[in-house]
Symmetry: C2
Subunit: 706 residues, 2 copies
């Protein structure tokens, strides 16, 4: 894979690094920083390149210096106020306009990094901005040129957009969407209608309070009464001068969520709302003035893979967003663990909790995952950029279609992998910080709560995994028939060796043997082939026993297709990171630690499949499992002194991270204490003090009522 994220030269030297990346304040974390085996600045420059670091610095310091983004310690923001603040912040993002069109074209990874940087501060304004400028504008952009005018209004915020697919009673199953768009020949309009409240648009980000326009998905009906399937339309939902609902539109806020509460998610019902014919987003099809339906695609399949490809960007970004949450949570938990002392060999001498084997084992594999998933999301983004270029230039080659399918299969599993990893890590980090992890100011709750819907939107994780396993199963015919095959990105090419791989065995004979990621990688290749074979057999068996296709597939998920999709994506993610870290051009100063991360991630992920490795006979005997387990522990041990520096590489500045126990100085108690006392009401007597002091309860007074 040729890639700008690959092997950036750590050009420059200590002094240029120092300008880009200032030193951290002295404090309790120095002890671990001194023990690190590498220079964190060199690593940061190596991973991102100076250009991206400069962009990050620019965004971070803009936010830090802007009063609109000031933190409000101890303040109990109401949801309404938080929504307002989010909107004001979103407006500021327009005013900063961090990237020019030119910059984006030159290096698309910049837009990726911009989203991440803003999100590290708070996902609410980030998503608000992105749903409008990215999703809404993007959907219009890909439709036709006739929306150029509207697009202008998007970018100067004359209008505000949202993307309305989900309904109250239908989400994952988009085919079940029941909103209708009926073409009226006489007026050359579409009539948008919600049959009943169960078909109300629901969950739509930005729709709750302020969006003026929505991309609405509806079943298109032509005058002949035919349903032409799901299409999208631009519908104005609020007056741009007053923000009051347009006639026939009932629109509102769905209420408080578990997180992301700056964002206003909404619902809408349409009562025969008429929109001009031009408002159909003619991506998939269009209607003539006479009301005849025409599709721009020769066949349904082609149309399908084109749309699949473009849907992928959302899932790729969520892969990255989740990896970012992983980084935030770990920055906090690792710095806490390195400065929190509890117990020790003697009563006098307490040691940092990071020194405990359990604490290392609970956190360091996630640290490795943060590195591995970060790299993967960037590389997949670059694959998407290639695919998107093909879309823009209207490439209709087989390769383009195959690339669309492959990227779809990858992100349909990388989104689940990354979002679940981050969700579990956020919980583990919360617990790893003991009671202090449960204090809201330390931010682990916000991270967990904001990350949570990554498991659900853009496709529920469990349902998405089926897409990936379907893709993998689709190669079984080639495998069986021994027809050569390959995919544009090569992620399934190893399946050509299927029969051969299935004959392999685990060969390590010592812990030392397992310390490189090639070992879990080889095991993963076997595992994918094994699960592919088993899933294929299981499916056949289900069908033979008389199950319908629908039932048969459903009954092959647990322990088969679902495991297959997960194993495949872990393998792919690991393969990419293995190749990256084993490139001979990697600076020798960084290679050891990077290889350790690769090995730890690989072994730790693999260890969750250990039962299957035994079951299928890849591994046998007591020792094999022990080697893997001991290698994991040994890698954790080797990485513990690098952990703080590894976190320094990706932790945003203190202002952005916004967690007293996660600050770069490591002065956790001072930081917490001062934040508590800044909460102006911390020491106040409660307003309701008389309820205790004067209005005493009469014990048992109400018992007679029971």
């Amino acid at each position: 894979m040729a890639s700008t994220v690959n092997l950036k030269e750590a050009n420059g030297n200590q002094s240029s690094w120092d300008t880009l990346l200032p030193d951290f304040p002295k404090g309790p974390l120095c002890k671990y920083r001194k023990k690190a085996s590498f220079n964190w600045k060199e690593m940061a420059v190596f991973l991102d390149g100076e250009d991206i670091i400069q962009l990050k610095n620019r965004i971070f310091s803009a936010l830090e210096n802007d009063p609109f983004f000031a933190h409000r310690p101890g303040e109990d923001l109401s949801r309404e106020k938080y929504q307002e603040l989010t909107f004001l912040r979103c407006k500021r993002l327009f005013e900063y306009d961090f990237l020019t069109q030119q910059e984006i074209i030159e290096n698309p990874l910049k837009i990726f990094n911009m989203v991440i940087c803003i999100g590290m501060y708070d996902w609410s304004p980030c998503l608000q901005y992105f749903l409008h400028c990215g999703v809404f504008a993007g959907t219009i952009l890909s439709a036709s040129n006739r929306f150029a005018d509207l697009l202008g209004k998007v970018f100067n915020m004359e209008i505000f957009g949202c993307f309305a697919l989900t309904e109250l009673s239908h989400g994952t199953n988009t085919k079940g969407i029941r909103t209708t768009a009926t073409f009226d020949r006489s007026t050359q309009e579409f009539i948008i209608n919600t049959p009943d409240f169960e078909a109300a648009k629901f969950w739509v980000g930005n729709m709750g309070k302020h969006a003026t326009h929505a991309v609405v998905y509806a079943q298109l009906y032509t005058p002949d009464g035919q349903c032409q399937g799901l299409h999208s339309f631009i519908v104005q939902i609020r007056d741009t001068k007053t923000l009051l609902p347009m006639p026939g539109v009932m629109v509102g806020d769905i209420g408080k969520k578990l997180g992301q509460n700056g964002l206003d998610n909404g619902f809408a019902m349409f009562h025969n709302v008429r929109i001009p014919k031009e408002n159909i987003l003619n991506i998939a099809g269009d209607v003539t003035a006479e009301g005849k339906y025409s599709s721009s695609f020769k066949d349904v399949k082609e149309r399908f893979s084109a749309s699949l490809g473009s849907l992928s960007i959302g899932r790729i970004l969520i892969t990255a967003v989740s990896a970012t949450n992983l980084k935030l949570a770990l920055s906090i938990a690792i710095r806490f663990s390195a400065t929190r002392h509890q117990f020790g060999p003697t009563d006098e001498e307490e040691i940092p909790v990071l020194e405990y084997q359990t604490q290392q084992w609970r956190l360091l594999p996630y640290l490795a995952a943060a590195y591995v998933l970060d790299y993967f999301s960037k590389s997949l983004f670059e694959n998407f950029v290639e695919f998107f270029a093909g879309l823009l230039t209207k490439q209709r080659s087989q390769r383009q279609a195959d690339l669309g399918r492959e990227i779809h299969a990858l992100c349909a599993a990388s989104k689940p992998l990354s979002s679940w990893t981050a969700q579990q890590a956020a919980q583990e980090c919360r617990e790893a910080c003991g009671g202090h992890g449960y204090l809201a100011m330390n931010r682990l709750g916000e991270i967990r709560n904001d990350n949570d819907p990554n498991c659900t939107y853009e496709g529920d994780n469990n349902v998405l995994l089926q897409q990936t396993s379907n893709y993998l199963m689709s190669w079984m015919n080639c495998i069986r028939d021994k027809v050569p095959f390959e995919s544009p990105l090569g992620t399934i090419n190893f399946l050509q060796d299927y029969h051969h791989i299935l004959g392999r065995k685990f060969t390590a004979v010592s812990v030392e043997d397992c310390m490189d990621s090639s070992v879990p990688l080889a095991a993963y290749k076997w595992l994918v082939c094994y699960l592919l074979r088993e899933s294929d057999l299981k499916l056949k068996k289900e069908k033979q026993s008389g199950q319908s296709d629908f039932e048969a597939k459903n009954n092959c998920q647990v322990y088969y297709c679902r495991s297959l999709a997960i194993a495949f994506i872990e393998q792919t993610v690991l393969q990419r990171y293995h190749d990256y870290t084993h490139d001979p051009n990697i600076p020798s100063t960084l290679q050891t630690v990077l290889k350790n991360l690769s090995a730890l991630y690989g072994l730790w992920s693999l260890s969750k499949h250990l039962a299957v490795l035994y079951q299928g006979g890849y591994v046998s005997g007591e020792q094999a499992g022990r080697f893997i387990q001991n290698a994991i522990l040994e890698l954790c041990y080797r990485l513990k002194d690098d952990a703080v520096a590894l976190v320094d590489v990706f932790a945003p500045p203190d202002f952005i991270l916004n967690s007293p126990i996660g600050k770069a100085s490591g002065e956790l108690y001072k930081n917490m204490w001062s934040e508590i006392l800044q909460g102006n009401k911390a020491l106040n007597r409660p307003s309701w003090w008389a309820e205790f002091c004067i209005n005493k309860p009469v014990t048992g007074r109400l018992r007679s009522r029971l």
Copy 2:
């Protein structure tokens, strides 16, 4: 185990059940209810008995009819208001005074059920009430008679109590507590002092805003300058007439938490605060007028096991509290899954998501866990009641001491097991409800957030597990020397067969063979012995390689002692449930479903250890693993039609459950829709509309500042 929770006679009949347990409203859930293999009312009466059901009904309807407990849909309660409301609700609990002393003595399980019932409504008032009447009062009660006066003031709320052990920099390691209590002979007072802010009391429930008195743990110094170790003292922290801090006390609120925000957790610093000599809680020791220290215990060990035993009640209750959260989350997710239709064999016919194999496998094992853990927590509570009776009657027998140790070992692992299970289940249920699970009104977020600290307080889960493994390891000498041994509750008696058990193998030769919990139970017995042996060997090896005891123990946790403790408690929990469900006196109408639950829980828990079973040679070959996996799926399938009825058995009334998608009618969309529209601001224009309509951003205006 003789127990009132064991085999209650399902006395009475359909008509008496109907009075106790009214029918549910007709609706979409009827379909599944009709398919159930048993009568949910019979089950409820069988599990709880009429007396407890009446108590529950009494409490639930008191709350439902009391305006103080009214829900406020759509209202965005500030933290201060929520704290006030919680306090007012807590006062109402005093006025209801649900149980008389007599009732509690007659059936201590009633107090257990009362806590659970109030908590099902909201944990904040429940914990506030319990910390005061249970923990604070309980601590005083067990000290000496001289506090009778104070105790009166507790129960009429003249004072309000809290329990202050943790400090900002010390939690788990209580030995590290740094607050001091120095005896001043001249005034016959103790001087309570906080050396610096890192030793401030921290996290103390009720202390944030309203407690007037605290049980404060401090290092006791006698006039000879000797530190006598940790002791507890009653310190007044606020004036009872004004709620203003007492002189020398700096007390305040630690701020917003991830959950339980009705409860005010606080901090306190003491600046040489003087308290009368009588305020020492002379549980462990006392000081004479001359300043000489005297302990009421002959030796440290005895003192230790007495205190261990009484500490257990907190962990037992948390085991139950977590099991309750498990029930709440499942009530919501199962009812949703039975009524949410998505996809289907044809485009027209959609099926409930509960019909999908993945959905069953994600939820039903947790449903089984809810039954199993509920039973275990009750039975452990009954064990504790026996132990406590011994404490009250000042029993100093060996059995009493052994019982204290055994109960300690059990709850030090059942708290982790139950709290983690509930935490994972809450997350899984959230995801299983798709987007709607992320809406705050559906309550899965609150359940997850409120359950979370169960993993941390009363001892961090990971640290607690070490207590259990230490207990198990302590039997190795007897095992090695082949000395007979047993424990009061018999939970470790099977270890006498250690050598024999280690020779056993998995014998099932079909899926059908695995369908009873005896199969996982046998496997667990082997697993515990195996992990015990391995942990013991590992510890020896670590020590032989020159590690100190401290290091050696730390390095034996992951994959060894930690797994051992978990396997042991799962085994114990399963054993009790297996015995319960296999008792021939169980009504035949209920036995099948109860046995299915027992088998599912056992196999599903065991399956997480499958790798170790292979590794250690208990299981071998491809088929063995498949049998277990297929048995899990088959049990899920068999239980899916019982799932709604199983949830009906434990779900509280709609008012208490307070989740539109979890209501008993199953009209999820109507319930959600009406709740959203009740939120009075749902349709309002935002107050900040002019920020969009008038104050437009100038795109790029701030770019020059970057």
